[in-house]
């Protein structure tokens, strides 16, 4: 009898890292925080279902709570089913500000090439906030730049959910991927809807043959009042200059 042996350390699905950046500033106190927790809890089963039904990715999730300073609420990447089964509510930080720059830097650190598996799929980053950034001058810009200067941060699907129309600000436009809209939750009751929409986008992104244009269409349909801006062709994304997206 011939046994089957395979050289190397074994095989596994490719990791798809999903990072939730949750605004836990003081203004999230009360109904908004409750709604955010409800929305995140509601989103997880959708992701569990998707992970079960698809063939390619192992979805690994972590949560960064940010206010005056960032704090990894779920620090290590965990399977989404595990998080769903062991959910703990986020809590707002009294007097906490909405400093996004340090939060972007914290995300950039975990997506740096020495931290991320070489075979990882493009990550997804979901930013949920109810307000404008309150960083010191230049703080938002330098933090965002640190995220965008690494390959994984630049290529990540970057989604933003604004809680309240006023939160849909120019800074969120700068954070989001250029081909997807900011999703606006007009009230606390809409947060769950927007997060489910976002989770579907995240899950679709790694499926065969799906490109950003398709995702943008889906998100624009979900957010008809706010169309995304057309994607600005870049050398790396468009195939110009010899680069081509390495979709399966």
């Amino acid at each position: 009898m011939t046994e089957t042996l395979m050289p190397g350390g074994g095989v596994a699905r490719r990791p798809l890292h999903f990072i939730v950046m949750a605004d836990c500033s003081g203004s999230m106190k009360g109904e908004k925080m409750q709604a955010l927790n409800y929305a995140l809890r509601s989103m997880l089963p959708h992701l569990v279902d998707w992970e079960r039904d698809q063939l390619q990715a192992q979805l690994l999730i972590r949560i960064l709570a940010f206010a005056s300073a960032p704090h990894w609420f779920v620090a290590d990447p965990v399977p989404v089913a595990h998080l769903s089964a062991h959910w703990r509510n986020l809590e707002y930080m009294p007097m906490g500000r909405t400093n996004m720059g340090p939060a972007f830097r914290a995300v950039a650190e975990v997506l740096s090439p020495d931290q991320l598996e070489r075979r990882a799929l493009r990550p997804a980053i979901l930013l949920v906030t109810d307000g404008l950034p309150t960083d010191p001058p230049g703080g938002f810009e330098t933090g965002l730049a640190s995220l965008l200067e690494i390959a994984a941060g630049r290529s990540a699907l970057r989604l933003a959910v604004a809680i309240g129309k006023d939160a849909n600000s120019e800074p969120l436009d700068r954070f989001r991927s250029p081909d997807v809209p900011v999703l606006v939750a007009d009230g606390a009751d809409e947060i769950a809807d927007r997060l489910v929409t976002a989770s579907i986008a995240v899950s679709r992104m790694s499926e065969v043959g799906v490109n950003r244009g398709t995702l943008a269409e889906q998100l624009n349909l979900a957010e008809p009042t706010r169309r995304s801006q057309p994607e600005v062709p870049t050398a790396r994304g468009s195939g110009q200059d010899g680069y081509f997206e390495d979709i399966l």
Partner: protein
């Protein structure tokens, strides 16, 4: 479904034999789920009097590259054809392989091979692949549906976009050329891994260079390796579906250690029966789910004879339902060489467009400034690398 290349042609009388080539290709689970074809391709042919060439290619999966399955097939066919011509030139030209290999001679040989690779093989592959693509489009123009998928202004070759990894073995020299992602892993007798093709910092796992790129000649990376002096026992060419399935980030090291043991412990028939299952596991939903194609070249210094040649069934009693890889028997060794003396091996590694080589000490990755690419993280311990003579490209003003 495991696909295999066509059988090797019959041997001409008196032909010497050398390296064995096993190949396997498996459609990715994600491709099967959406009924898209296996966009990888593999081919192997004889080269020169006693050599062999193997090629694998990965057609891009983006809908924009709607004919990439054809593009990869053209790539491996063109790659093997041009390599054969290069083999003929090398053997017919100077007495490049006729002398023993003291280090000085070996260095000159490496230099000559690298020069011909850069000046003949790479440009010929690029131009002939383009010609083949344009001929294919002429014979079978894009349909309306295909036109709708194409981006406005796209060159016809974009639809056929593909990588290419090529390895020719000629007189114990490995001649390697690669464009795009995928892996070339050399396995030494002691189990250490060698990655002879210089890393390309442009390949960050998210984008790839391509034969359909704007300057594919510049994106080729080449290497010439003295297989005997480096004590190389096998070389793996793999599309990225293989590496992306591996749990261990530094999988070439683990792969090399394990394969070296297998080469000592098992015969070539056993390896031929196993290879398709390796590709299948990687291509499955337990792995990368991507098309996975491998070509495993096995040195006559390590390959044990095919069991079938000893009157046994190579796949007898297998518990796996696999289609055996095609062992190209024209390259099964008949003479096992003696152990090589511990002399300095010679390897050249270059980016294809480089000129005016500058001798430097060994380093793991070749820095390369291009466009807006992120810096490359070298992998592995430089101490694992065999002694190497290589040329560092100019650090600025490139491309």
């Amino acid at each position: 479904m495991t696909t295999t290349p066509s059988a090797a042609p019959s041997d001409p009388p008196g032909r010497r034999t050398g390296w064995l080539v096993l190949t396997a290709s498996e459609r990715g689970a994600s491709h099967a789920a959406v009924r898209s074809p296996n966009q990888d391709a593999v081919a192997t042919e004889r080269a020169g009097a006693e050599g062999v060439v193997a090629a694998v290619a990965d057609g891009h999966g983006h809908p924009r590259h709607l004919r990439s399955a054809r593009g990869s097939k053209l790539a491996v066919a063109v790659g093997c054809q041009v390599a054969q011509e290069m083999a003929d030139r090398l053997e017919a030209g100077t007495a490049i392989f006729s002398q023993p290999d003291p280090p000085a001679t070996a260095a000159a040989t490496a230099d000559e091979i690298s020069r011909l690779t850069e000046e003949f093989l790479v440009p010929a592959v690029v131009s002939r692949w383009r010609e083949a693509v344009l001929a294919d489009v002429k014979a079978d123009p894009f349909t309306q549906a295909e036109q709708a998928q194409r981006h406005s202004g796209d060159d016809a070759t974009i639809a056929y976009g593909s990588t290419l990894l090529l390895c020719m073995v000629l007189h114990d020299w490995l001649i390697l050329a690669q464009i795009g992602d995928g892996d070339v892993i050399g396995v030494r007798a002691d189990g250490r891994a060698v990655e002879p093709v210089p890393a390309d910092p442009q390949l960050d796992g998210l984008v790839t260079t391509s034969l359909c790129g704007s300057d594919p000649r510049a994106d080729f990376r080449v290497a010439a390796v003295d297989a005997a002096q480096n004590q190389l026992r096998a070389v793996l060419l793999a599309t990225d579906g293989y590496g992306n399935a591996q749990v261990v980030d530094e999988w070439p090291k683990a792969f090399s250690e394990d394969l070296a043991w297998m080469l000592r412990d098992r015969d070539a028939g056993w390896l031929a029966s196993q290879l398709p299952s390796w590709a299948a596991r990687c291509a499955s939903s337990d792995g990368s789910a991507d098309d996975t194609t491998v070509a495993l070249l096995i040195s006559p210094a390590s390959a044990r004879p095919l069991a079938g040649e000893q009157g046994e069934d190579a796949d007898a009693g297998s518990e796996e339902t696999t289609i055996p890889a095609v062992p190209h028997a024209d390259t099964v060794p008949v003479h096992l060489p003696v152990a090589q003396p511990p002399i300095d091996p010679v390897t050249t590694r270059r980016l294809a467009h480089r000129t005016a080589p500058e001798p430097v000490i060994l380093e793991r990755s070749i820095p390369r400034v291009k466009k807006d690419t992120a810096s490359h993280q070298s992998s592995g311990d430089p101490g694992d690398e065999p002694p190497t003579t290589q040329w560092r490209p100019p650090r600025t003003g490139e491309r």
